[in-house]
Structures are given as structure tokens and as C-alpha cells.
Amino acid sequence: MNNRSTLGSKLVASPYIVWSVLFIVAPLIFVVYYSFTDASGAFTLENITALSKYAPTFLRSIWFGIVATLICLVIAFPLAYFISQSTEKVQRTMVMLVMLPMWMSFLIRTYSWMALLQDTGIINSLLGKIGIDPIHMINTEGAVILGMVYNFLPYMILPIYSVMAKLDHSMVEACQDLGGNRLTVIRRCIIPMSMPGIVSGITMVFVPSVSTFYISQKLGGGSFDLIGDVIERQFQQSYNYNLGASLSLVLMVLILVCMAVMNRFSGDEEGMVI
């Protein structure tokens, strides 16, 4: 192809490049700008120093995110394995069933958990029928983590499954032939080979869990804040955009650091996703 038409086809990317500078890069610059200015636009470090007050909230959010991600991993790994072992037709149906809830509004699904978990809710009235005293579940930390696990579980199942479905079965057989029992095969062969799926699953569950605000509002009942709740309030209730921007900036950096740490831990594996 001659130079002119190559240049021409390079140019068709320019509207996108302009778009991404305007609507991806510029907004992030505004986050930084608002973090370091006050309401009148003058430079200040007040928003940054105010952050120390929110350190416990940040820590709680990260802790919840880690717990929810680990629970998702523990639930999803065996399920993905079982799905990948079934016949093609069953696999297709199962994947469809995993994806289906993701198309429903997560707001309604989370709300519907409220109906299940309430003190006079469905689970407690079922328990009552078999003579068990009601358990207080709603507005607890456990309820929030349950909400996270529930909402983001498909994001863990699907990437792990899609790697497992393509696993080279001769490798698994080789491992068995070399005398590996069931557990050894899983530990030494299947887990390492599914690592790319596990890593992308962890990312896809951890990031939304750390930054959520709806789940904690509904299932936590506002009894404790996650960092998403604090940010949301700055923008929708107290209109302190500057503080909100600095909180978001820190959240963004924290997540990047967490991702970098995780990538280091799984860095030896081949074929990394992300």
C-alpha cells in the first residue's frame, strides 16, 4: 500500500483520539484539579489533609473487597471446574444461567435481598416455621459482603470457566499418568493453568466491590460507610466536589496499587490477563 493511503487510514483513528483526550484524559485531569483547589478555585491542600479522617473508611472498603473477592473465588473455582467438565450442551446452558442474572438491574436484585434478609423477612419466616428463632441479618457487615458476593460472582465464574474450557486435557492426563492424585492434579496442574482467568476474575470482582455504594446503603442500612458512600454523598448531597475529587483520586491510586501488588504475586505465570 502506498504511503498516502496508509496515512489516510491512520487518520480515521483521529476522531477517537480526540474523543479519548476530551472525555477520558481531561476528566481525570479535572479530578486532580478539583482535588487541589477549593470551591472558589484557589490552590489548597485542605482536601488532601482532610483525607486522614477517612482512613478507617478506606481500610474497611479494602477489607470488604478482599473478603468478598476471596469468597467469590472459593465459590467460583469449583463451579467453573464442574461446568468445564460437563458435556458441551450442558456447558452452554450453565454459562447462560450464570450470565442471565447479570442482565437484570443490580438495584432490584439487591433490593430483593433486603426482602429476604429482613428481621421479618422471607428467610426468617421460613426459619420460624421450622422452629428457629429469627436471626438478625440485614444492616450487618455480613449482609453487605453477601451483597457483593452475590452481585459480582458471575464476573469470577465466567473468566475462570473460559480459561478452563480451553485447557489442554492431555496436560491433565499427563499429570495423572505421572501419579498425581485428584488433589495434586488440581493444585499442580489445573490451578496454575487457570491463573489468567483467576487473575482477571479477581480484578473484576475487587474493583467494583471496593468502590460500591448502593450495596452498602441498602444491605448495610447506612450503619457504616464504605468509601463509595462517602464519595457519592460529596457529589449528590453535600456538594463538596473538591473533597469528593480528592477521595476519588486516592481510591483510584489505591486500586492501582492493589492491582500492581496482585500482578507481582501472580507475575510468574504465563499468559497474564490485564
Binding site: P15, F30, V31, M96, M104, Y150, P208, S248
Partner: protein
């Protein structure tokens, strides 16, 4: 082991579907309670069909999803075609890194960062009600774009470059060579990307929440403001209807796919 794995799978699916079952059952409830069942009625479905705000929000959502998916597909495909020609280097890796930002960043950060931009520009032109359909459309196109680009780029790499050259040697102008040779081969990637973009846009709450104004409500935002108060089962009725239509679509899609796979196997 077989039974154990079956019990396990059933339990996980029970967990995934418990709130959906609750939702469907209570959409037929005789009273407005969402925890005590009393009698069967279709009143919530009737209420839903008479509720103009919800129906308006539903049509807004569909309009927004169609527009943003179409714009993103055109812009994203053009971007992929151009990027494919870029030599490896800082410009290419820079653009790809920026492309990944909306997928990596927490949605709340994407949402507020755009809101800050819009509000700032709004102040500059002293327009107070800057948030509305326009800003929502920009936001949705922005978070849809990476999915188009990342679906089209691999297809472009699989396309034989010589084909477009051959078409030009045979007298095609570069533009018509693109439409006749390259476009058909990247079409599957464009369609997958567009469907993904459409569903993401339909379902998005967090980014829309920060970039929309009171003048233009989408369904997730309408649901959000309703769940601030006590939800009446008409929201359940709406979700049940959405659930059933998606289920039907998925079943049809799977049957069609299974059939076409069978056909290709017979060949």
C-alpha cells in the same frame, strides 16, 4: 463425586436465583408487601402499564442504548482500523493505555470525573442545567468504546492485509476496498462489540447516576430513586418482564447457535 458436584452446582445456582425468584413471586402479590405473600393478583402489572414515568424511563433507556452503541461502533471501528496501521511505539501504546482506562477504573471514578468536566464546562458557558441527554450520551459512548475497539482489533489482525491490496490492484479505490473486503471480515467483531455496548448501556447505573440531570431519566436511575423509598411490587413486575424477555432471547439465540453448529458439523 458426581452427586457432590451436582449438589454444589445446584446450591450456587439457588443462591444466584434466590432474589430473582422472590422478585417474580412477589410481583403477583395481592398486597404491596415485599415480604409477606397474600393472595394472587395482576394489579402490579396493571399499575406498571399505567405508570408513565417508568414507561418514559424505559424508552429513554432504549433510545440512549441504541444511540450510544451505534456511535461507539462507528467511532470505535474507525479507531481500530487506524490503530491497526500504527507502528509499535509510544503513540500506539499510549492510545491503548488510555483505551483501557474506562475498563480498569472504578465506575464511580469514571462517573464523577466526567461529571466534574461537564459541570466545569457548564460553569464556563454559564449554563446551569448542563447535565442531560447530551452528557449521558457522551458518557455512554465513552465507556462503550473500549469494548468495540477490543473486539474489532483482533479481527483486523486475522484479516489478510494482502486482500485489501489485491482489491486495489484490481482497480478498487482504497475506500471501496475497505467496504468490500475489510469490513465484511471484521463484521463479527463489530456486532459482538455492539451487542456488548448495547447491554452495558441498558444496564448502567453508576456512571449515568453522576452524568444525568433531572430532565432525562433512564430506567436504572428511576429504579434507584424508587428504591430510596419503599419499593412497590410494580418494580418487581417490571423486572420479571425484563427477566422473561431476556430468557426467551437467550434461549432462541442458543437454539439458533446449536443448530448452526450442527449444520457446520454435518458439512
Amino acid at each position: 463425586m458426581k452427586t457432590a458436584s451436582r449438589i454444589y452446582t445446584t446450591l450456587v445456582f439457588l443462591f444466584l436465583y434466590a432474589p430473582i425468584i422472590v422478585m417474580i413471586v412477589f410481583s403477583f402479590n395481592g398486597t404491596s408487601s415485599t415480604s409477606v405473600l397474600s393472595g394472587f393478583s395482576l394489579q402490579w402489572y396493571k399499575a406498571l402499564l399505567e405508570d408513565e414515568t417508568t414507561l418514559k424511563a424505559l424508552s429513554n433507556t432504549v433510545v440512549l442504548a441504541v444511540c450510544s452503541a451505534l456511535i461507539a461502533t462507528v467511532l470505535g471501528t474507525a479507531a481500530a482500523v487506524g490503530l491497526d496501521k500504527f507502528r509499535k511505539g509510544p503513540l500506539r501504546s499510549g492510545v491503548m493505555a488510555v483505551t483501557n482506562i474506562p475498563m480498569m477504573n472504578p465506575e464511580i471514578v469514571t462517573g464523577i470525573s466526567m461529571m466534574l468536566l461537564f459541570v466545569f464546562v457548564g460553569k464556563m458557558v454559564s449554563e446551569d442545567a448542563v447535565l442531560g441527554f447530551g452528557t449521558l450520551l457522551i458518557a455512554h459512548v465513552t465507556f462503550n468504546l473500549p469494548y468495540i475497539i477490543l473486539n474489532v482489533l483482533p479481527k483486523l489482525r486475522q484479516t489478510d492485509r494482502n486482500l485489501a491490496e489485491a482489491a486495489q490492484d484490481l482497480g478498487c479505490k482504497p475506500v471501496s476496498a475497505f467496504f468490500k473486503v475489510v469490513l465484511p471480515s471484521i463484521m463479527p467483531g463489530m456486532i459482538t462489540g455492539m451487542i456488548t455496548a448495547f447491554t452495558l448501556s441498558l444496564d448502567d447505573f453508576i456512571i449515568s447516576y453522576f452524568t444525568s440531570g433531572p430532565g432525562f431519566q433512564t430506567l436504572p436511575i428511576a429504579i434507584f430513586s424508587m428504591t430510596k423509598k419503599r419499593v412497590k411490587p410494580d418494580m418487581y413486575a417490571l423486572s420479571a418482564l425484563i427477566f422473561v424477555s431476556i430468557l426467551v432471547l437467550l434461549i432462541l439465540y442458543n437454539v439458533a447457535q446449536a443448530k448452526s453448529e450442527e449444520k457446520s458439523r454435518k458439512k
